[in-house]
């Protein structure tokens, strides 16, 4: 019995990511915030698929199990993690190019230099 504790963790991680995106000025910190949002979404899906007392959705040699957790959210989260990795790599690459171009990671500075 885990209760609502995992959902609380999801909320806290989501809040941290949202805070970083809204208030931080460093592009790397904003990227960290986006990654935290991804992590909270993944955790949310996994927790929604949990069934009390369920085992992993794999027929192992350990014998018959009483019940299993939902397999579909796990399958979708698995691909979402790898896609998140690829997109955050793309994000960081763009940040690297921005830093080389402007010499700073501050969003306000970047906006000012462009204008």
């Amino acid at each position: 019995m885990t209760g609502n504790l995992p959902f609380l963790a999801v909320g806290i991680i989501f809040f941290m990511g949202m805070y970083a995106i809204l208030f931080e000025r460093n592009l790397i910190k904003i990227a960290i915030g986006i990654t935290l949002l991804e992590a909270s979404a993944n955790l949310f899906l996994i927790v929604l698929g949990y069934r009390t007392g369920g085992s992993i959705p794999v027929f192992t040699l350990a014998g018959e199990v009483r019940s299993m957790v939902l397999p579909t959210p796990q399958a979708l989260t698995l691909t979402a993690i790898v896609i998140g990795l690829a997109t955050s790599a793309l994000l960081l690459s763009l940040i690297m190019l921005l830093y080389r171009h402007y010499g700073t990671l501050d969003v306000r500075e970047i906006r000012r230099l462009r204008g």
């Binding site: 019995m1 609502n4 959902f7 609380l8 909320g11 989501f14 809040f15 949202m18 805070y19 809204l22 208030f23 698929g49 069934r51 009390t52 007392g53 369920g54 992993i56 959705p57 794999v58 027929f59 192992t60 040699l61 019940s67 299993m68 939902l70 397999p71 579909t72 796990q74 399958a75 698995l78 691909t79 993690i81 790898v82 896609i83 990795l85 690829a86 997109t87 790599a89 793309l90 960081l92 690459s93 763009l94 690297m96 190019l97 080389r100 010499g103």
Partner: protein, 250 residues
Amino acid sequence: MSSKPYIFRIASLILCVSLGLMLFRGIAALPVTEKVTGPASHYLARTAGETGARNVVGAILFDYRAFDTLGESTVIFTAVCGIAMLFSRRKFHRSSRGLSFIAKRGIGIMVPFLLMYASVIILFGHLSPGGGFQGGTIFATVTVLLCVVFGSSFESQYFPPRTKDILESGGALLFSGIGLIGLAAGTGFLSNIAAGFPAGTFGSFLSAGSVPILNVAVGMKVGAGLSTIFYSMIKMLDAGHDHREGGGIE
């Protein structure tokens, strides 16, 4: 500074807290249940008979929703293409000399075991937790380790970008080819047992029809793709190091 950012901050805080409160009330209303409903009950009850795979997650990824997986691996492919294109113009490339002798020896001992671990995770993806995505990332980790410890020119000498390119495209072609076999058999794109793939005995290594082949295809795609991403990025870092040593700012 004016008080405008301050007000913005307070308003955002109120928005976040109220959204979180609404979400939490919604979650608290969810019933705690042991019952498995919807498509999941079908998957859990019939996966063994319909696909022959022990791993239900793998069966969903590579049988029931294989077309979905093809689309998702295309997303990775697109990201890899984007990153490789962004850094394609860096011609001046001098690799670092790598870390100390001890680190190099240690990694030299570890790499075969890491490769074996990744292969097992990919090849037994239909029997145990694991599969193409996870094993592919471990393969990419090996090349990342080689890049960091030995320098990126060593890594590109043993795993040339051209090989990774062929591996990634080959994975995509293998995946689509398996799908086309189902189409040719007249049972639909990416169909597994219905298309005539042998189901094998439940729980043995050679079972579950096309699921292990698709695992290998996705492992090739993900491993080569992630390793290309890292190589492209670290190539630029090395180039940046060069510029700083020369005292020039681009």
